[in-house]
């Protein structure tokens, strides 16, 4: 089984670049093929990149608090674009303020994300989840 491909980026108007650069490094080290879109990525850019690279998963980061507004409708757009069922993770500081994680998780799962990760999740955790979900 070849390398799995991930599309990685920070959604919306979010410019938090540090975590993104570290995830890029960590996923690559872990043996994934990473298409890193960097920061300020629109929903359309994720989808284009996923189609182009025949990606196995889309990894969305949102740190700055507008995650709720920015992520609305991404799953539908994926479906429309022919990416039905593509694995979709989201993580970071997803909402404005300090909220109980269960609530946040529920909200983003309803939006169609397969897994939702809280602030400061270490790359090891994400990598383990990816290996499980992608059988890599």
């Amino acid at each position: 089984m070849g390398k799995k491909t991930l599309v990685l980026g920070v959604i919306g108007a979010d410019v938090h670049a540090v975590g993104n650069q570290i995830l890029n490094y960590a996923f690559t080290q872990a043996g994934f093929n990473v298409v890193n879109l960097g920061v300020m990525v629109s929903q359309e850019e994720y989808i284009e990149a996923a189609i182009e690279s025949a990606a196995d998963a889309i990894i969305v980061s949102s740190l700055y608090g507008h995650g709720e507004l920015d992520c609305q409708g991404l799953r539908d757009k994926c479906d429309e674009a022919g990416l039905k069922g593509i694995l979709m993770y989201v993580g970071g500081n997803l909402v404005v303020g300090k909220k109980p994680f269960e609530e946040v998780e529920k909200r983003f799962k309803e939006m169609g994300f397969d897994r939702v990760f809280g602030p400061g999740t270490p790359p090891e955790v994400t990598i383990a989840a990816l290996k499980e979900d992608l059988g890599a």
Partner: protein
């Protein structure tokens, strides 16, 4: 318009102004003569620069939070709470991320969603959408002076509305609000739009109204070597002064090593003064700000308090004119007003307890000051050279050449060739100097410092060190040691 470091004529300024004000309906509310009159009516006690001058004279450090919520009444309640329960000396209004990108439609949507959901759906205060009258309600509702804090590459309309709205200080600059806050905006563009902002502030100054301007010191907030942030601060001070700005606060984000942090503030104050004098801006007032730890925070609140307090200690011992305060919620999300006030109280306690102490100017501290100044000098002199003596033009070319280079920046305009890491004592050094125009001596100094650490850790010098350093704080460390 062609970029050069020359004061704009009134015509240039006023002709561009019409177009700026047309950017969003609230632009119509700005009447410059009326705004000047309004600013004149603000008493000295509520003017930012007056408070800074007073603190500077007394040698004390003022405390200032970050804070902003979408709706006016909530925002007023927030600021009042920080003033009365937190003891803030200076107040902020942090602008939301859509406004920072001039996406006023999205901001409007965020305001409406916030009302509908009954909770904040924006990460700051959308000042442009609230307009001049909305801003005046805010600045008029509190005792302390209020500053606009944001991260906006094109802040022209924001500046027009907020200065007319009674704010007496405005953060940002053409470099510091571009490279860490944008992906695709040319440096030339932001230098131009920030000349506009500075020209506007300068216009108020010409009418006898002090407007404090503050380049954003910490940049990406992550392992930024003092030489890089100090060089950027000085360049932004020079271009601002040329447009008529007379009151500048230059800033620095705490790195964590006490000697380096105190040295950086000393170097910043001394060297900004030197360059300002050299280019004829002797009449500019220079004060300093230290930002408490700007990188990733520990999630635990008790640990976060420790990080906050260490920043307070550095600010107090460095005798920075003010300190920007973090909160125990930092790692989690925009803080509640209670958490924000708690951060302020902890900071105030430490700042005031240390009011009578300062760091002794011994040779170790002095060496570090001189080291930083030498490095800054290399960067600025090369930048001037690249611009044939014009610092603005030189800055554009310096970024192209990697002569100025900011680590971990999202911007494509940034070379991204340098790689910082901590030395054995936690000071931020350069593992890779990239294209910074350093002398051999300086490059050797950095290499030796990093090699000294590597030797102690029994490993090769590598990027892994920088990664370990970024994660160190969440493991209660400053230096990311291999076994941790």
């Amino acid at each position: 318009m062609r970029l050069s470091n020359k004061k704009w004529s009134e015509e240039e300024f006023f002709s561009q102004r019409r177009q700026v004000l047309a950017g969003w309906p609230t632009g119509k509310e700005v009447d410059l003569d009326e705004a000047v009159a309004y600013q004149k009516s603000i008493p000295a006690a509520r003017r930012f620069q007056e408070k800074l001058n007073e603190a500077d004279k007394k040698g004390v450090t003022l405390i200032q939070p970050r804070a902003g919520v979408p709706l006016i009444e909530d925002h007023i309640r927030l600021l009042r709470h920080l003033e009365t329960e937190g003891g803030a000396d200076l107040l902020p209004t942090t602008i939301d991320a859509y406004t920072r990108l001039n996406r006023y439609e999205d901001a409007q949507h965020g305001i409406e969603e916030s009302i509908a959901e009954g909770k904040a759906m924006l990460n700051g205060f959308p000042a442009v959408n609230h307009g001049v009258a909305g801003c005046r309600r805010v600045t008029g509702a509190v005792q302390a002076p209020v500053q606009v804090r944001h991260g906006t590459p094109d802040a022209r309309l924001l500046a027009e509305i907020t200065l007319a709205g009674g704010f007496t200080s405005f953060e940002g600059g053409g470099i510091s609000y571009n490279i860490p806050y944008a992906k695709n905006v040319p440096i030339e563009d932001t230098l131009l739009t920030w000349q506009y902002v500075d020209r506007l502030a300068g216009y108020y100054e010409e009418q006898g109204i002090s407007i404090n301007r503050e380049p954003f010191g910490p940049l990406t907030g992550t392992l930024v070597p003092p030489c890089v942030s100090n060089a950027v601060a000085i360049i932004e001070a020079l271009v601002a002064a040329e447009q008529g700005v007379r009151n500048l606060t230059v800033g620095y984000g705490q790195c964590g090593n006490l000697v380096q942090d105190v040295a950086a503030i000393h170097a910043l104050r001394e060297q900004t003064r030197e360059y300002m004098d050299r280019f004829g801006y002797q009449d500019c007032s220079i004060t300093t700000v230290l930002h408490q730890w700007m990188g990733g925070f520990p999630q635990d609140e008790a640990k976060a308090f420790a990080v906050i307090c260490w920043g307070s200690a550095a600010a107090a011992l460095a005798k920075a004119t003010k300190v920007i305060v973090k909160t125990p919620h930092e790692a989690m999300g925009v803080p509640t007003m209670e958490a924000n006030a708690a951060g302020l109280r902890a900071t105030g306690q430490l700042i005031h307890m240390l009011a009578d102490q300062k760091m002794v100017e011994d040779s170790v501290l002095r060496d570090e000051v001189e080291q930083i100044k030498r490095e800054v000098r290399c960067i600025i002199e090369k930048t001037l050279e690249l611009g044939d003596g014009d610092i603005a033009v030189g800055t554009v070319r310096a970024f192209q050449a990697g002569v100025i280079d900011i680590p971990f920046a999202p911007s494509r305009m940034n070379a991204g060739r340098i790689m910082p890491a901590r030395d054995h004592f936690g000071a931020v050094r350069l593992l890779d100097c990239g294209s910074l125009p350093f002398t051999k001596e300086i490059k050797d100094f950095h290499r030796q410092k990093i090699e000294e650490r590597a030797r102690h850790e029994g490993r090769e010098v590598s990027f892994q060190m920088s990664i370990d350093d970024i994660y160190a704080i969440s493991k209660s460390r400053l230096v990311g040691r291999p076994r941790d």
